[in-house]
């Protein structure tokens, strides 16, 4: 436990020291919220978004940025790099286990996602009158399952990629798909209906987040898919993962 604590401390420092990671996972979505929030028209409710404001409608997509960056981009790249450079193998020769390093990375990803979610919800509420999630339990469930599904996919990439380069070759398209279907590149009302439907079932499940945030119970099927992806990808990753 002592070793895990020390590893977590050092890995957190390295995460913060690598300027790009905190910027893209936490600062970027928050900055976008502030930019959009400062445009008055985007704060007004619009029938196009089911009488929500654009800000409210788009907030879950901002959270998708954090989720995608953290879970399917940074996590697999860091783990593949550590494996390629022999960091995991070296740890296996000490009384500490490389599993502790993996666990530390997961804790950092989770913490990043929680911090970003809290900031987006908090700043949205305080600065731009975006209501707090109206279904807190449903929202928490959607966030947990969506996060679990993406982290499992990130671990799967880390498991099958042998090098940093191949990890990025797999992670970048996956990352872009998650961002696209999460309505980050183009807000989803601009997408054809069938793409929006695909996005409902694509991790992390932006529709479930939006529903729970704005007052509808998240659809059980949306949540169920996330759980299935989390378990299937997680189990496959666990089976394939190698320390070296």
């Amino acid at each position: 436990m002592h070793a895990f604590g020390q590893i977590l401390k050092i890995e957190t420092r390295l995460f913060l020291r690598d300027f790009g990671s905190p910027v893209t996972t936490v600062a970027l979505p928050l900055a976008l919220l502030l930019v959009f929030g400062l445009i008055p028209a985007l704060r007004e409710s619009d029938p196009q978004f089911g009488d929500l404001s654009f800000i409210q409608y788009f907030a879950p997509s901002l959270l998708v940025i954090t989720l995608a960056m953290s879970a399917v981009n940074i996590l697999p790249t860091v783990l593949a790099t550590y494996r390629e450079r022999g960091v995991l193998r070296r740890l296996a020769t000490t009384p500490a286990s490389p599993a502790a390093l993996l666990a530390a990375q997961l804790v950092i990803s989770l913490a990043t996602i929680l911090v970003s979610a809290a900031l987006l919800i908090g700043v949205g509420r305080l600065a731009f009158d975006v209501p707090l999630p109206r279904r807190p339990l449903g929202f928490a469930l959607a966030l947990v399952l969506g996060t679990a599904a993406l982290l499992a996919l990130g671990l799967l990439v880390a498991a099958v990629a042998r090098t940093t380069k191949s990890a990025q070759a797999l992670a970048v398209p996956l990352f872009m798909a998650v961002m696209f279907f999460g309505g980050v590149y183009l807000p989803r009302f601009l997408l054809p209906d069938f793409l929006v439907r695909i996005g409902d079932y694509t991790p992390p499940g932006v529709q479930a987040l939006l529903d729970a945030w704005t007052g509808t119970s998240p659809h059980p099927l949306h949540l169920g898919i996330m759980a299935v992806v989390a378990v299937a990808a997680g189990a496959t990753a666990a089976k394939l993962f190698r320390w070296e």
């Binding site: 002592h2 070793a3 020390q6 590893i7 050092i10 420092r13 390295l14 020291r17 690598d18 790099t81 550590y82 450079r85 022999g86 960091v87 193998r89 070296r90 296996a92 020769t93 000490t94 009384p95 500490a96």
Partner: protein
Amino acid sequence: MPVIEVTSLHKRYGDLVAVDDVSFTVAAGEIFGVLGPNGAGKTTTVECVAGLRVPDRGGVSVLGLDPRRDAAQLRQRVGVQLQESQLPDQLRVAEALELYASFYRDPADPAGLLDRLGLGDKRNTPYKKLSGGQKQRLSIALALVGNPSVAILDELTTGLDPQSRRDTWALIEQIRDSGVTIVLVTHFMEEAERLCDRVAVIDRGRVVALDSPAGLVSAVLPEQRVRFRPSAPVDDRLLTDLPEVIAVHRTGGQLVVTGTGDVLHSVTSVLARNQIIAADLRLEQSTLDDAFVELTGRRPAV
């Protein structure tokens, strides 16, 4: 009792036999060299000793413990420096050492160890900014920070410039003097000759020789050559009658006497008895390098 005991070790990866049949023992306080051409099975052998791989057959015992069954205990007492193992770029020297120190029950003082390894002024330098020699020394420090009884060092000085290599050798001797038993994997013959008390030469997964570096050379290539310019004419028979002498040649004004054992002593004695002075006297012996080629049929990497 030996500190490390390897008996009939066998390990294959699929169809490839990495280690066929390797046995050796390492005594306490020894610097034991594992030599061999690339792909001979050196690294796999020490990885089995370190408990990183499970042998298919054969026994390994380290400090009286089984590397698999008693893995947790052994990791406290065996320091390992792996070939091509790096650290995160942004990790600073002192951070790395303090982190690794936290894994052990009775660690060395990280600051003291850094000073000993000449990294005292690099405490806050990120790994990325270290030179090759500094990275290597940090890697050795990480292997030693747990105060191990045994240190396994794989390809210690590969990629280092000659000066760093010599500094590292001095360091290894210092570590041995503090009571650590050292297993050194290397393909530098000069390194083995300088550091190792005994070496095992491994080729194609088998031990082909096991001796002290000097013993190994004289067993494999016992011939030596004595060269000198005699101050007066020498009758060849004076020399060829000596039991140690095999042949005598002349090149210019030089005599070249080929022989074995104490050939130098017999030659100089017989010359002295005949009041002949041997000028420019030189003894040429085979090196570990030559013995290695003789044993494995391959040139060692330079």
